[in-house]
């Protein structure tokens, strides 16, 4: 660590969004870079609401640090390799330029009074992006609904104790079609050197439907080239319900309800098969815009079996995505639910 200049940032106020592009839902994220603002790599991955450490490890972090140091020694001869680790300038240079955040935070924290309140949280940046589309009554695009896809979305389970080593390849996945095998060590994708799972996520985050990703892996000491073809809708297999930003999506799409897939044993009781839509109301928001569903008559323990005529929304994520793409704020949708063994129809206003 003493070979680095270490900087700890605790707030997103006045963050340079053209430089610090990362998964804003993380509670721990790291950048390895140099004074020229060349980014060698990122670190930090998460896929669970409560467990922030499941997808990262100290061993993986140490290996990433070592690689970053090695690349720094070779700089600037290797400068071009890192060109795509940053995207083009963001239209919004700082979070405060988003309409929903404008005027709400000062550039620096106020340690003299209400310091916690003066702190903009990173996830608020992503919320501001979602809100921008909603306020303009535009469908929210996939790359905003499903940011920073985990490698599992293309069928790659990577070992958190390594930089980017394949632990498992999902059967019939895009990664399997590309020829990935467990034990493969990903060296680069589209020419970008990879030092962490977050680096793989960066490439996925910036990729679009129809893109082809060219990966270089080391297998049994030999370098191999593998191509992943990203078919239409590849991102939509991602589960976003763990994200902090989903709290605001619950307001927009479900009037403040927290929904979980009804467990199999409860399905049998409700006379529903595993293939039928059944979203259990696990929590009903109580205040303000998060209480729209409560005021519409929804209750804890209700089971939603139809939403706006759709009976194929099998998860909370799928319901969010449907609303964000197809239903605008102010529209009212019919919802059918099971309560106490009987069926009931309610109406829910989108926000």
């Amino acid at each position: 660590m003493d070979q680095f200049v270490c900087v700890r940032i605790v707030q997103a106020n006045a963050l340079d969004l053209s430089l610090f592009q990362f998964d804003y839902d993380l509670t721990f994220a790291a950048f390895f870079m140099n004074a020229d603002k060349t980014i060698y790599g990122r670190f930090g991955t998460r896929s669970d609401t409560k467990d922030a450490t499941r997808d990262i490890s100290i061993e993986g972090f140490r290996k990433a640090l070592v690689s970053a140091l090695e690349w720094h020694k070779q700089y600037p001869a290797n400068k071009d390799l890192f060109r795509d680790k940053r995207q083009a300038e963001s239209k919004h240079k700082t979070p405060a330029e988003y309409p929903s955040l404008r005027g709400k935070f000062k550039a620096t924290l106020n340690y003299d009074k209400n310091v916690a309140r003066s702190c903009m949280h990173c996830h608020q940046i992503h919320n501001a992006r979602q809100r921008l589309y909603r306020s303009q009554r535009k469908p929210v695009p996939d790359h905003i609904i499903y940011p920073w896809p985990l490698p599992t979305v293309v069928g790659l389970s990577l070992d958190p104790r390594e930089m980017a080593k394949v632990r498992q390849v999902t059967k019939d996945s895009l990664a399997e079609q590309a020829g990935f095998r467990s034990g493969d060590e990903i060296q680069s994708i589209n020419g970008q050197p990879i030092l962490s799972i977050a680096d793989v996520q960066w490439v996925l985050h910036t990729a679009r439907d129809g893109n082809k990703l060219k990966a270089k892996v080391v297998r049994n000491g030999q370098e191999q080239s593998l191509d992943i073809s990203l078919e239409r809708g590849w991102r939509t297999k991602e589960d976003i319900s763990w994200r902090t930003t989903s709290w605001d999506l619950r307001r927009m799409a479900a009037g403040g309800l927290h929904l979980i897939r009804l467990p199999d044993r409860d399905r049998r009781k409700a006379k529903l098969t595993g293939k039928e839509m059944a979203l259990f109301v696990d929590h009903v928001g109580q205040y303000g815009e998060h209480a729209v569903a409560k005021r519409a008559g929804f209750r804890h323990d209700d089971i939603i079996v139809s939403f706006d005529g759709r009976t194929d929304l099998m998860s909370e994520t799928e319901l969010f995505a449907y609303v964000l793409k197809k239903r605008m704020a102010g529209e009212v949708v019919p919802v059918t639910l099971i309560r106490g063994g009987g069926r009931l129809k309610l109406k829910l206003r989108m926000q």
Partner: protein, 67 residues
């Protein structure tokens, strides 16, 4: 009616006091964090320009952590 109003006011006071206490706790935690990390001496706490200047001067790479 008077009793009802008193009950609402009492409830409001309890709520605002609890909220203020939670706010103070969070403020204390943020301040404590700054003190602890700054005392370690190895980190530029919440000061990116200082970190950039040090990296330029020393030629070292930067490790920037958002936490």
């Amino acid at each position: 009616m008077r009793f009802r109003l008193s009950a609402i006011l009492a409830g409001f006071l309890v709520l605002t006091t609890a909220t203020a206490q939670a706010q103070n706790k969070r403020d204390d935690k943020v301040k404590e964090d700054r003190k602890n990390v700054s005392e370690l001496g190895d980190w530029n706490y919440n000061d990116l320009p200082a970190g950039m200047a040090e990296a330029k001067k020393t030629g070292k790479p930067l490790l920037i952590v958002f936490r």
